[in-house]
Assembly symmetry: C2
Homo-oligomer: 395 residues x 2
């Protein structure tokens, strides 16, 4: 593979691991059970990160986030650089202090939000220029600035700046974006290593739905050397089978001793399928966003609380849940809150959903540990398919 | 005073007190320290009730409401009769179960919301007809139906249906509405006593800003006999001094051995001033509504978190508060949440405000107990006037 920019200095040796490590504890097929260590604590893998885009997981206090079982959250470089600003967060003591979350934080690099939120973006070798969705200001983001921002925030796991395309896209476009992302990966690593702080930096595999580009990206990033490797540019419009096929191609090309992070994914079924293909880390807005829109994720599959059939149902969503919001409130009450557009509906369903995702991940981890992952997936999917049990006669 | 409807049966003897009592424990001037007992527990007076209009205190879980120190909440008959419906709540086990609040609940009768929220209302002797603000349906509410609804909800303290006018209003209008409310009070009591459940029923003094009408209303209601007496129709457009003057006229005309409830009031200063005039109970949307709009009530007076001067302020709102939301988050972070329109801003500021109101009432109660109420009021107002302390030099 060619260096994307021959004027760059030689790539440094693999990075120092102070304040970040990954231990693989067990495997079951391609599924992996492990643990990452950060300056803010340990996180069991595979894990799911609730999204705290603007330095808050929407609708939840940090205590409530922690009570779901979450050990790490994601925050967005794009959002925080625009408001309140990375230098301001740094002056206030960093993101952990700012958002009152003393546990690990992963920050994305902004590449995905530049694609999805901003207008008039212009991608060039040096970086990306875009118009802020908040105030229309013209903002520049380079690989070096993305690292600087994440350092200012005090992130435990930083992500390289990448260019993320929607699918479908032409092979030419995918190749161009992949090579640009690769050049940015190298520059990100150099910027990260020259900064006066520790933590982890992950590279991001791009290449869309093209297996050859994906493999080239994975191998080149591995040669550069990162603390972990993300697969970006999926769940951007393609069918689930295309996503899973891509993961199955890419994961084996990544070093087994490093964590693998599938960005922005996904449904509960996506999590099972991706763990089965060797993924260790996830983030997604689905549990929080759907919670705000009246949809609950449960052992019985998704339950739409907007539906009038819940109006008189005294049953809780799941009396075996570890989440009080799933146990202590009737479906009728949740339906009422959603219909009345009350904040508490969004709050309780967000708690229910984030807890369900965490319980699912805990079940996955336990199953891998005892070599029962395939069976766990089958039982979990069966429970979803069986669906929401009807009220008993006479109720 | 004349019976407003001579065809009605004679008024029954004073009500049975099972499941409701009031004990006066101390007085300090006209300020009173006491305790009410309900089937769902004790509540120390004077107290402030957070408003849970639609069976939820906006933005707070019941656990969070309780953590503010609140021992009782208010729910709205008007809202709940329209959605989800009183019969539905009853079938689901009553309002305490429905909203997962096992402590005392007071329900208003709907009179105030009919005035403030509904359109095309028509007031007649039999009751009020109005158009629902939710779906436009024509709804009738009589004194008897208001009691039936509150019984279905399982309220600990029910309120009579009244007609509430905005001020200013003509004396003729005020007199008509006061006499109608009085007739409805008698019908409410008969309906309440014929119902197969216990609890308390409060009458509501009306008469606007006319002292003579207010006194007539208070004396006539006392003659009918209720578990407690509310002063309605204040904080509806009149200056504070008019409100306080009216309270000072009415309170002495109410029986000392019954609790006195000033409906829909008010600011922290209103609470001090009304307690000084013998009021025992309050409710108001100010702490919750203002919390959703970025305004914090604190020992230092109100603080508007929307203001840009907070953007870099690392100080918490009040590190001596019993509320973690006031201690564990910087003003800069709260400013960020408010500017970013994040739910957590509304949640945290609602916690801060409801807690501040509860701390204020706890301070009032402690001061009355030791005969120090006047001094407490002076110190509290001085602290508000001193205002928000500026950051130290160099920060």
């Amino acid at each position: 593979m060619e260096q994307s920019d021959p004027t760059l200095a030689p790539v440094p040796a693999p990075m120092h691991d102070a304040f970040f490590s990954f231990r693989l504890l067990a495997t079951d097929g391609d599924a992996r059970r492990g643990e990452i260590a950060t300056a803010h604590g340990l996180v069991a893998t595979p894990f799911f990160m609730p999204v705290g885009a603007q330095a808050t997981v929407k609708g939840l206090t940090p205590e409530a986030v922690r009570a779901t079982g979450a050990e790490i959250v994601l925050a967005n470089t794009y959002h925080l650089m625009l408001r309140p600003g990375a230098e301001r967060v740094a002056a206030l003591g960093g993101l952990h202090t700012f958002m009152n979350w003393p546990y690990p934080i992963l920050t994305d690099s902004g590449g995905f939000q530049v694609m999805s939120l901003s207008q008039l973006r212009k991608v060039a070798d040096h970086g990306v220029t875009f118009r802020s969705h908040i105030d229309g200001a013209i903002v520049e983001l380079s690989p070096e600035r993305a690292i600087e921002i994440q350092n200012l925030l005090g992130s435990d796991i930083s992500m390289q700046l990448d260019e993320c395309l929607r699918l479908p896209a032409s092979r030419g476009e995918l190749e161009r974006a992949m090579r640009l992302s690769l050049a940015w990966a190298e520059r990100s690593k150099r910027a990260f290593e020259s900064a006066p702080r520790c933590g982890a930096l992950f590279g991001i595999v791009q290449g869309g739905d093209d297996p050859q580009l994906r493999l080239e990206s994975a191998r080149a990033l591995t040669a550069v050397g990162f603390h972990g490797y993300a697969i970006g540019g999926l769940a951007v419009g393609e069918p689930q089978e295309v996503m899973l096929h891509t993961i199955a191609e890419v994961a084996p090309a990544l070093p087994a001793e490093r964590p693998r992070y599938l960005m922005g994914v996904g449904t509960p079924d996506d999590l099972l399928a991706a763990v089965a293909r060797g993924i260790d880390m996830f983030d997604c807005v689905l549990p929080t966003r759907n919670g705000r829109h009246g949809l609950a994720f449960t052992r019985f599959g998704p339950i739409n609380l907007k539906n009038a059939r819940h109006a008189d149902d005294p049953r809780p969503l799941d009396d075996a849940s570890s989440c009080s919001a799933a146990r202590d409130y009737s479906r009728a009450y949740l339906h009422h809150l959603v219909k009345a557009n009350e904040m508490l509906g969004a709050i309780l369903l967000t708690m229910v959903n984030v807890t369900y995702y965490q319980e699912l991940m805990a079940g996955i981890r336990a199953a891998i540990t005892v070599g029962n992952f395939t069976n766990f997936c089958a039982q979990t999917r069966e429970s979803w398919a069986r669906g929401d049990v009807a009220p008993a006669q006479g109720i």
